[in-house]
Symmetry: C2
Subunit: 359 residues, 2 copies
């Protein structure tokens, strides 16, 4: 469907025919849509120049900068979606939880949340304080034309793990200990964090985000039975009745894929560990429905020679054809050391290959 | 089969009827054998008292202490196997690679291995320097009677990741970058590390270890295709023709279980993420053979109330019955914060339950 507005994506689309939205609905768009988790980030020199030394949360609350950083990868890579430049801790910080993003480490909380008293004192969402996010989203919608903007939030387990551990952790042992020792306190914590995430999502949706992704990045450290008991109900509460397609993703969630879907996802994000056709078969076997999936090139593949990158991209595309719909992405975020030229070449390859196959 | 020698395990065994060895052979022993990864360690007050401030590598090369620390959990928990108190970096350190174990962090190398020149300079195994390990194993065999001693070594990817990253890492990005950018250098590195690990295993086997476990703890961060191309051949070289049963384990290896088996394992270790019956079905579907599995209680479950712990243990036992043989274990190492009383109660529960079911 030809159309005048090719200025951003290079692909002729309207809202209804945006490849990303078509794929979310399980339709087969003309091209396989592609975007990259953390596409707005340190791999881009223009990102480093624009952000400078501004602390992360402050950057996320500076509307002009959010607009600029969100648009950069759309221009650079010609991806099929923008994702809001922000952080999963923004709704926590704006509500008054003193979380900081420490460069090279991640979210840090100097006084971790460890007791029922700590949980009782957690604040409710502060919608007004999210105004800079709302402003940025509105301006982005105007700038992006028919390229959809993806909003996002953090999942309950991942947010809880930062608050309970006091920062990133390999094993999330304290978080799991709280869960097992004091289930009632855990559920109160997860419910409160879910409310913060949901307010963040609704803010973005009301301002124009057309798709959302819930990042429960570390949920994969839980056994399936613990995930179902302690996390899934809270994620379902965050994801219910949002009115836009929902992508649900976590790292190392090979055994949780059907549960991510059951929590209310329209698209299941898959990390690089699970071949995409295996993921599709596993979800279909558990749910009785062919899923729409997103993923899953290993982010570290960008360091390989181009023939090896190319082979890996084609392999992901071929396996993705087992799904009802496929959004091409990495299996986790863009690594800061990545060469933007390789990422741009991957976008072109995905577009060319999928167009050729579909004709 | 009654026998006088019940002093250590409390279970009447001879070498041939040791439940662990029977399970390794795919037989159904009278009880489900149980031991814990990292059972010799900081969860035990007697461990902390005996080891004091002695640096890890030094402790691993002090035969008297190795004997004492290896026996402690056998006495305390009445497990069905001892595992040598040691560390996967011992054969590296004894060969002259300046690796240190930093408390609370893990293996650290101040000058990481990053270039072909670095790899070329890696030393070969130093068999003589492993003499304290050999001495400790011989004395343990005499002390343990019919309780088998498990020897172990680190897998090529895990050892490489410590050397290339310079320490523990969440993403192993530098290791993967080396693999993808310089495959020939990677293969040389993995082959050299494999030779060090194999020399460590052979030392333990020749001195009397009856089973070995290869810990490729971080191999689960690789996609299946990269694991097969870059790691499996080197692990197979380490594991070939050892003459004793081999357990092969890595964290987050849900998609690699059949590959761990293909590398030459008699028993596949499973982490807590994959329900044991799912793991069995997955391996059987890929290999055409019912496997023997080890695992897989979430180490963090010990923080739950006893009824919740009990339910989780019974669930693992029930799922394990899908396998040709099952060695009960945690899905990763004992957490230092664990209550030894809970671990001892788990051993009793496994023994009582499996005895009752089999009668």
């Amino acid at each position: 469907m030809p159309c005048d507005d090719e200025r951003v994506s290079g692909t002729a689309t309207t809202a209804a025919t945006s490849p990303l939205l078509q794929a979310c609905r399980g339709e087969r768009p003309e091209i396989t849509p592609v975007w990259f988790m953390r596409q707005a980030g340190r791999a881009l020199p223009e990102y480093r120049a624009a952000r400078g030394d501004l602390p992360m949360i402050e950057a996320c609350l500076t509307s002009d900068l959010v607009v600029e950083l969100t648009l950069q990868p759309v221009h650079r890579y010609r991806v099929d979606a923008a994702i809001l430049f922000s952080d999963i801790t923004v709704p926590l910080a704006t509500a008054g939880i003193p979380v900081r993003i420490v460069p090279g480490i991640g979210p840090v909380l100097d006084d971790p949340i460890r007791t029922k008293g700590d949980v009782d004192r957690l604040p409710p969402p502060d919608i007004d304080a999210l105004e800079p996010v709302r402003t940025a989203v509105r301006r982005l919608i105007a700038e992006l034309g028919d390229v959809p903007l993806i909003g996002f939030a953090g999942g309950p387990f991942t947010l809880a793990s930062y608050l309970v551990e006091g920062g990133p952790s390999r094993d999330q042992v304290r978080t799991k200990a709280l869960m097992h020792r004091e289930p009632a306190t855990w559920h109160e914590l997860a419910e409160k964090l879910g409310a913060l995430s949901r307010a963040f999502l609704l803010t973005q949706i009301e301002a124009g985000a057309r798709v959302v992704q819930l990042f429960d990045s570390w949920a994969g450290s839980l056994s399936p039975s613990d995930y179902r008991r302690y996390v899934l109900p809270h994620s379902a509460a965050v994801l219910r009745d949002l009115g836009v397609p929902r992508i649900h993703f976590g790292v190392g969630t090979g055994e949780l894929l059907a549960d991510l879907a059951a929590a209310g996802a329209d698209v299941v994000g898959v990390d690089w560990r699970v071949p995409l056709d295996t993921a599709v078969a596993r979800i279909a076997a558990a749910t009785g429905k062919q899923p729409v999936v997103q993923g899953n090139l290993d982010p570290a593949i960008v360091f390989a020679s181009w023939p090896a990158v190319r082979a890996a991209v084609l392999d992901v595309l071929a396996r993705g054809r087992a799904a009802r719909g496929h959004i091409f992405n990495l299996g986790h975020g863009v690594l800061p050391e990545s060469d933007p030229g390789v990422l741009a070449a991957i976008v072109d390859l995905v577009h060319e290959t999928s167009r050729r196959v579909d004709v």
